[in-house]
Symmetry: C2
Subunit: 536 residues, 2 copies
């Protein structure tokens, strides 16, 4: 059943006396689209409020409490159907994150349909000192897009129109509320693609991606949003519309203000429109999976892939056997390889010439086998198998979400340190008496991530929430990361989960300047309060 | 003398009855390294002062005038040999830009060797209200790096050490005063390269590149500095050292403050250190030159190159016959092609596999010839010919510099508008009576640029400076660009040349916010005054 490409690999590898690459069985497809929606429809009874769960949060009494008059005023802007008010069930999905880790108490969701409406809402909220949480697809992991207390939720889901596309330059302009996957599919018909991709693509908004500076699976190849976002339309806290919707690749006229909003997590403005550079969709895409014996080998495979696959390399992801076992526990896939290995890497190539790419990949894989770097490998033979391999990588988050409790961390550091961090954490938890015995609360420490970006997703699964565990992890892990010049949040952002730990990644001078910036743009502090920056 | 690659092209093209590509004669190599130095050593007698040449500039009397005591204090920081004081000849190169268009009257150049020294200098200048111009390689084109009046020149040339390099991730950290070409050559030995390249590479500093957000020749492939710069060390106007020297590809912890300094032209701080992501140096580089009949064909060739050359395309430059003739006038090259054509495009590919790249390029060139898009073409056969073709493209600026007068513009706009702009300007100057007759001041209108970035370098050569010409060009050109959603400065920046025209590219809301930002970071306004932002 193998295509000619695989046979080529097999023949060539056979010369070296090595068994051919083979997919033993097709693995089960786990759709990752609409994860947040399906999670969000769970009953909310058991979800604790953020303010109860994380001690130290006190409502800022400078903020006005919402009145009936306010609601009536908002109706004049968005209409009767443009808001959700005082309806616990309907409000639940907006008050809670999809992992059910954070929960706010908002009584009002506003759903404007135009930038002008967003502007009118913000102007009023600023005058009245009503606190606001901008919300996109609500797929974040750090509680940044849900309220802590009674902040008004400003949902961008009504701003969902594609504005323009230039097929010569590949520049797309769109409303902030467009769903990432919708944009990507729309571009596919034109031979282009979004420069970013992530597991939550079926629900997340492009505006939210930019507000959180989402990294994801294509960053290795297409770079960060700081490079690909060409322009933004932002409503400032006082309602001013900042029109910086440039559709130019080059524009050196003044401070690049839009950059401030990329990764600002809704604390200094509401992103309403986006101009972004989209790459050509590659004609040829290959995905291979390797089994390896050590993280040393993972690094060797990465270094060599940068040389041999170079310009066609579009992803280099890794996971450990614990991640695979976690996936199997909840998704029962069939076997991908005959044996299990301590480490796996998923390699994707994207190029314009299938024959050339096949040859490069074959040579690379052959070298990895001959050099003893990889122990086994499979190459996807068609679109379906490509999706299957990817859904394995993208399924870890969902699988972990089915555990009774999970402590999630998203950190970055120099590549050689990545797995040292994981092993150190396992030992630390064992030493602390919460891992490794039958009655230990911690059941597993699972690692996966983007090798090329030095980005580790570290997940500590537990059979219950236990203060001993969290006290052992934090701030120990952040200290470890800081010691190795890493970041305590590589791509998930700060939200309410990490703001008080910012000092581990940024100097007092940096934090002071950030606060000055925040105060300058949002003097009343109404934008996404209690988050992002440390309170003291 | 042709290598097998060319023979392959010839044979295949011969099947279509098309003459083979051939370089008729090697063209003369014009070294572009150290342009600024050689220019700067010219006698300065004829160069007018900026304040005399551009009316409306008045010295800000809030700034203190330099005293002997100040100079003595600076000696305690940088030592006797770390400054140039009251020596007209030695000061000349720091007071004047290399095009001899701008000239200041500074009496003092400071040459600190460490970030700490820069900090002490700025702290003192801020306390004493002494205005400062940070200066890198002084290769800019808009007068941003030379004083207007008596501002102190803070030269970064003493901060020229490479700090570190990580050969797994390709992340380089270096002092701001490192020369771009020096860094590129240093990286070459390690198999890496700088993500940017420009004609002035032999003199320009990486700090200056970042302060001006330099674009250049590799932007099409490797993106802008907003994506590749990972961290900066900046001395703020009050002397505070902002340490944001991250060496991480992903770090989502707070506002990305370093972005503000990229393209800020020394108005809010002095960049002293840089962390930058460098790509692998490609094993295979090809350069081809095409002759075409129309700008329509240039666009067709570009669009097709994005599809067929895709991931290996690393440059797509164009020029018109006027640019070629200007080059010939001053550099007397031999013929590259038998005939002359209205347009030329230079295409560069960079990849990891020579055979694959040759095949892609051959197929592309063949298609361009068969489809009648290109009229003729040559492919460089070795490193020397690659450099020759590039030095043609890079030589236009130098050639134009030898004209009695030249009005230089650097604008960006949607690709289809690029040449319309040139033709419109020619007609406009003819209609205005300054071009097209024997005694017209304007002798030629020359165009070249980066097609892939929508970036046009428009040069109006004249036999003398004539106020009729400048009044016809400005603001006419800026209005034209604004009408087509372009930028009045694509990559050269604002400096003193364009600050008063900022309103053509940025809205009042944007300009107001920029000024707020400037006032917040530099409340005394001592950093690079009279520039960048409009005065009113």
């Amino acid at each position: 059943m193998f295509a000619s490409r695989l046979r080529l690999v097999s023949t060539r590898l056979a010369i070296h006396g090595i068994k051919p690459f083979a997919i033993k069985n097709a693995i089960k497809v786990v759709s990752t689209a609409h994860i947040s929606r399906s999670y969000a429809t769970k009953s909310g009874k058991q979800v604790s409020y953020t303010a109860d769960k994380f001690p130290g949060y006190v409502r800022n009494e400078n903020f006005k409490k919402l009145t009936e008059q306010d609601v009536e005023y908002f109706k004049t802007i968005v209409g009767e159907n443009g808001l959700i008010y005082n309806n616990e069930d309907d409000l639940f999905a907006f008050n809670t994150d999809w992992m059910h880790k954070f929960r706010g108490k908002s009584q009002l969701v506003l759903k404007p349909k135009t930038t002008q409406q967003v502007s009118e809402i913000m102007k009023y909220c600023n005058q009245e000192r009503l606190a606001v949480v901008p919300q996109g697809g609500n797929t974040g992991l750090v509680g940044g897009s849900v309220p802590v207390f009674d902040e008004i939720v400003l949902s961008l889901q009504g701003l969902n129109k594609i504005r323009s596309f230039d097929s010569v330059s590949g520049i797309l302009t769109a409303d902030a509320g467009c769903v990432l996957e919708v944009l990507d599919n729309w571009l596919a018909e034109k031979g282009y693609m979004m420069p970013l991709d992530l597991g939550a693509k079926g629900s997340c908004h492009i505006g939210g991606n930019i507000a959180t500076n989402a990294g994801g699976l294509r960053l290795l190849r297409y770079g960060s949003l700081h490079g690909t976002v060409l322009g933004l339309e932002v409503v400032l806290p006082d309602g001013t519309i900042l029109d910086n919707m440039s559709t130019l690749r080059k524009d050196n006229t003044g401070y690049d203000l839009k950059q401030l909003f990329i990764g600002s997590e809704g604390t200094i403005g509401v992103i309403t429109g986006v101009s972004i550079l989209t790459p050509h969709r590659s004609k040829a895409v290959n995905v291979a999976l390797l089994g390896l014996n050590s993280f040393e080998d993972v690094q060797k495979a990465f270094k060599q892939s940068r040389i041999e696959l170079s310009e066609i390399l579009s992803a280099f992801e890794f996971w450990d056997i614990n991640a695979l076992q976690m996936f199997k526990k909840h998704a029962t896939p069939k076997e991908v390889m005959q044996n299990e290995y301590p480490f796996y890497v998923l390699i994707e190539t994207s190029g314009s010439n299938k024959d050339h790419d096949d040859e490069k990949l074959t040579t690379y894989l052959e070298n990895m086998m001959v050099d003893g770097v990889a122990e086994d490998g499979v190459v996807a033979q068609d679109e379906t198998q490509i999706r299957e391999l990817w859904s394995l990588r993208e399924g870890f988050t969902e699988a972990l979400g089915k555990e009774p409790a999970v402590y999630k961390y998203d950190i970055s550091m120099p590549v050689p340190k990545i797995y040292e961090c994981v092993q150190d954490m396992r030992q630390h938890l064992r030493n602390g008496g919460v891992f490794g015995k039958d009655d230990s609360p911690v059941t597993d420490v699972v690692a996966y991530g983007h090798v090329g970006d030095g980005n580790l997703h570290l997940n500590i699964a537990a059979n219950r929430l236990d203060s001993r565990v969290s006290e052992l992890i934090e701030p120990y892990l952040f200290e470890w990361v800081a010691k190795h010049q890493g970041s305590i949040s590589a791509e998930h952002g700060l939200g309410v989960a990490k703001n008080e730990f910012l000092g581990y990644s940024k100097s007092p001078v940096m934090i002071k300047l950030m606060k000055t910036m925040k105060n300058m743009l949002d003097p009343n502090g109404i934008m996404n309060p209690y988050k992002y920056l440390p309170s003291s």
